[in-house]
């Protein structure tokens, strides 16, 4: 039995054979259904789309367009299909929540590690990150979902829709950055040197091993970004405790590391994209 990921990869291969207008139709349908089925069984949804994709390829060979084959109201068809989808199991729901939590908490932990100070872990802030992350991500995904078949100006005007997307993202960044101003520190604790280095290095190694073992290609570039964060963080710690003397060149080293990080991130992202 194929997994959701295998169905997605299979659909990516099939879509190469679609004519441009048909590909647009099917891509919109796919995006709309994937964004609308967050709380449903992903495998069943992707299997349904995959079977429709195969059938449509046969129809295309007979000169039938996607609009004629599926109809000119794909949103209604998608909504009808979504109604019938089974709900996600609790195990899968917990896995999804866990993955999102790991990503959000990883961003905060590695970001804090890169600062020239000790890591302070405040569980309330980490909980806040999770809640705000879910809220903002849900808002963003809902906006993208509605924009697929929405004919209103707010969604069809590119400048306006990009502005909305950026505002949502900025809201998320502001909320996470300013969390420390208003969240109490009652349960905060310091992770002292060298425990902070062991912690972040171990987490980095474990996440990288998992990413490469499970072949999560979209995360290869993130693994590289984490590596740069860890390098900068280790340098900051060793400078902070006096192991490495701080010099005037340190700021340039950090800038160079960040630039190398960005270049590496985009290069790896491109490589994994073209490898598809």
């Amino acid at each position: 039995m194929k997994t959701a990921r295998q169905y997605r990869e299979a659909m990516n291969e099939l879509e190469v054979n679609l004519e441009p207008k048909n590909k647009d139709y099917f891509t919109d349908l796919r995006v709309y259904m994937e964004l609308s089925s967050i709380a449903t069984d992903e495998r069943v949804m992707t299997e349904q789309l995959y079977q429709m994709n195969i059938d449509f390829l046969d129809a295309q060979e007979e000169g039938i367009s996607a609009e004629v084959f599926f109809g000119n109201d794909p949103k209604t068809m998608a909504d009808e299909l979504l109604k019938q989808l089974p709900k996600m199991t609790i195990t899968n729901a917990l896995k999804k929540v866990g993955l999102i939590a790991l990503v959000l908490w990883g961003i905060r932990l590695f970001g804090d590690f890169g600062q020239p100070q000790q890591i302070i872990i405040n569980p309330l802030i980490y909980l806040f990150d999770l809640l705000i992350g879910f809220g903002i991500v849900s808002l963003f995904l809902e906006y993208i979902r509605r924009s697929v078949y929405q004919k209103k100006f707010l969604f069809t005007n590119k400048i306006l829709s990009n502005t909305v997307a950026i505002l949502i993202f900025v809201l998320f960044i502001l909320a996470t950055l300013t969390a420390e101003w208003f969240i109490p520190e009652n349960w905060a604790f310091v992770v002292p040197y060298p425990l902070d280095i062991y912690l972040t290095s171990s987490l980095f190694l474990i996440s990288t091993i998992v990413i490469f073992l499970t072949k999560l290609k979209p995360f290869y570039s993130i693994s590289w970004a984490l590596f740069i964060f860890v390098i900068i963080g280790v340098y900051e710690r060793l400078t902070y405790v006096g192991f490495i003397p701080e010099t005037h060149d340190s700021i340039f080293l950090k800038i160079a590391a960040v630039v190398i990080g960005f270049i590496g991130y985009f290069w790896i992202s491109r490589k994994t994209e073209t490898a598809k």
């Binding site: 079977q51 429709m52 068809m77 019938q84």
Partner: protein
């Protein structure tokens, strides 16, 4: 009155009847329905219906290996589906009789 409104009530029975005759996949079913005279039928109607019938356990979908292409999902009728179809057949005959009678009376008037 649009044909589609009449069709809504009977499409399930038509689909189950075709599936009873042979194991079939989505596109093949659409072509069979169109060949039978329902030439306006589209995937947008059939795929959600197939999903609903499968969810209600009236049909069963099985992925079959294909020697010259991707594996397809073929549908067969379940025992529940056969029973549902038999009931539909009886109700349809009764309904046709009643409606024909009513329309005939209207003609007479």
């Amino acid at each position: 009155m649009k044909n589609s409104q009449l069709l809504k009530g009977v499409l399930e029975g038509c689909v189950l009847s075709i599936i009873k005759r042979k194991e079939i996949y989505g596109y093949d079913l659409i072509k069979e329905l169109q060949r039978a005279g329902l030439d306006t039928i589209q995937g947008g109607t059939v795929y959600p219906l197939l999903q609903k019938l499968e969810k209600n356990q009236l049909i069963q979908g099985n992925i079959k290996d294909s020697p010259d292409g991707p594996n397809r999902k073929y549908f067969t009728l379940t025992d529940q589906g056969k029973s549902y179809l038999a009931d539909f057949g009886i109700q349809w005959i009764d309904l046709v009789e009643i409606v024909t009678h009513i329309l005939k009376e209207e003609d007479v008037e």
